[in-house]
Symmetry: C2
Subunit: 306 residues, 2 copies
């Protein structure tokens, strides 16, 4: 059940109504690995600059994340900084400095070319396609993307979609990609381009899974305090793919559990800055939150009376 993730490893500077964090650990591969590492062995492929505090990733190694595919190169690390507005539902990017990430060409180590599960974090679809060329077809390929690639590399993205099993995007991305406002139609449009499954993330409103037959909806977990939404989507992905890799089952029932597990990890991620909450999280807390998700939505069939 070995799981490969290719994505960004970054330093984020974040302002929210609750405070500010400077050069905190970020990046899609970081959040994904932190979440997935509760469930299975994770191999991370990415790049950082000479200035990256690699020791800060030791909590991942302690959870058996293999960092041998993380290159450290001369130059600066990828840095992102942004400010969230009062309701945390929108943010403004202050600065993006790609640094060594601008020249990132993923090199998949021989030892992980046979990984059975692959997550392609949000990077250039040309690079995502290049990763697929370097691996033996995994059992499950999950990929993320963003509006920037939908607009600037649409053809490459559509070629990529033919070769992935699950596209995981947020609602605005699903709408922009498909040209359909209705999310059900947007998901059907995407499914017709290749991915048998589409996961649409709706932020505080939860996440929906669409497969051929199934529509499953996990609500957002009601939290009294949302501290920093950064990385929630990648933590969701890590919980989702990690759970599938651990259980090695793709039945509809297990896909439902994977979505809830992803939602649980996403809900923890936002409780502190950056990966702080995922760093100290325990598997018992995850299982407890999944139980609380069940209490949130479970109901028994109607009782017909009278």
């Amino acid at each position: 059940m070995s799981l490969l993730v290719v994505g960004s490893v970054a330093l984020d500077t974040i302002e929210t109504p609750f405070g500010r964090a400077e050069d905190t650990l970020g990046g899609s591969a970081t959040f994904f690995s932190a979440a997935a590492s509760f469930f299975c062995k994770v191999h991370l492929v990415g790049v950082v600059g000479h200035d990256f505090p690699v020791a800060d990733l030791s909590f991942l190694e302690a959870r058996h994340v293999d960092l041998s595919g993380l290159e450290q190169r001369p130059g600066e690390s990828f840095r992102w900084s942004g400010v969230y507005n009062f309701d945390l539902n929108s943010r403004e990017t202050l600065e993006t400095r790609l640094g060594v990430f601008a020249e990132f060409r993923p090199k998949i180590p021989d030892s992980v070319r046979d990984a059975r599960w692959l997550f392609l974090g949000n990077i250039d679809p040309v690079l995502q396609l290049d990763v697929l060329r370097q691996v033996n077809r995994p059992e499950l390929v999950v990929c993320d993307t963003m509006n920037y690639w939908i607009e600037s590399k649409r053809d490459d993205l559509l070629r990529l979609l033919e070769r992935v099993d699950v596209l995981m995007v947020n609602d605005s991305e699903a709408r922009e990609l498909s040209g359909e406002y209705n999310l059900l139609k947007a998901a059907r449009w995407i499914q017709a381009r290749g991915p048998g499954m589409v996961v649409v993330k709706k932020g505080e409103h939860g996440a929906m899974l669409f497969t051929g037959e199934l529509i499953f909806y996990a609500p957002g977990f009601p939290l009294e305090e949302v501290f920093d939404p950064t990385g929630a989507g990648d933590a969701f992905a890590g919980g989702f793919v990690g759970y599938l890799a651990r259980t090695e089952s793709m039945t509809p029932d297990n896909l439902r559990r994977a979505v809830v597990t992803g939602s649980a990890l996403g809900s923890f991620a936002v409780e502190r800055f950056g990966v702080e909450r995922l760093r100290e999280l325990t598997r018992a807390e995850i299982y407890d939150r999944v139980t609380r998700f069940r209490e949130l939505t479970a109901f028994e069939q109607l009782v017909e009376t009278g």
Copy 2:
């Protein structure tokens, strides 16, 4: 299990991206009654003008809605007209002509002063309080309100809240009333003012029930076509209160079912203009949709392996 509703009975002129309907049946008491009538006897108290096509309400009478409390007075009926934008998530009011509704003073007939269930549709909180003075304390008082009253009659509204069991509002109303952006905090704020229960309606994102112990979340039902959102909230209320009145049970499990029943009725309401869909709806369709809601959110506990 007799249920009393006091609210508006109106003629709506609606434009959506899918068409236009002129002087179609509308109003909170109309939608509420159409939905609740699948579950129990409903007594409607309201007012219409001399120009109201009362015969158009015969489908309600056929479902045993008692219209003897519907006054017909000289003057024009309440008319509302509005335009929805392309995504149906926001609308612009073109015109509101109150007509006889401006002088509406609810008179509760003697025969229904002992109603066990009461829904106070969205009218002036002073009138809602006046209704409470005219009835013997029902088992359950549910009330709706809107931003207009929150802003213009806040003190009356707060006095009303002390005397109701369930406040049913949408997310922006809950936020404005409480001054809390976070919905969990907003609900707790409202609960502290009287209503043991708060239902927060989130449109396409579903609805949440807050009680002392319980938080329950029913997602929006994924529809390929949403035709006209008008009345969805009142149809939700009719399903929710009607189901509780029918089953005469306020256990947490039954409250969950009531929320889902309300969500089902709301999801039907938006499938056609005005009350058209509720007019032709059957109870079998309602139960079928509740089953589909269950398929949408149900999952079994995690299987721990490895």
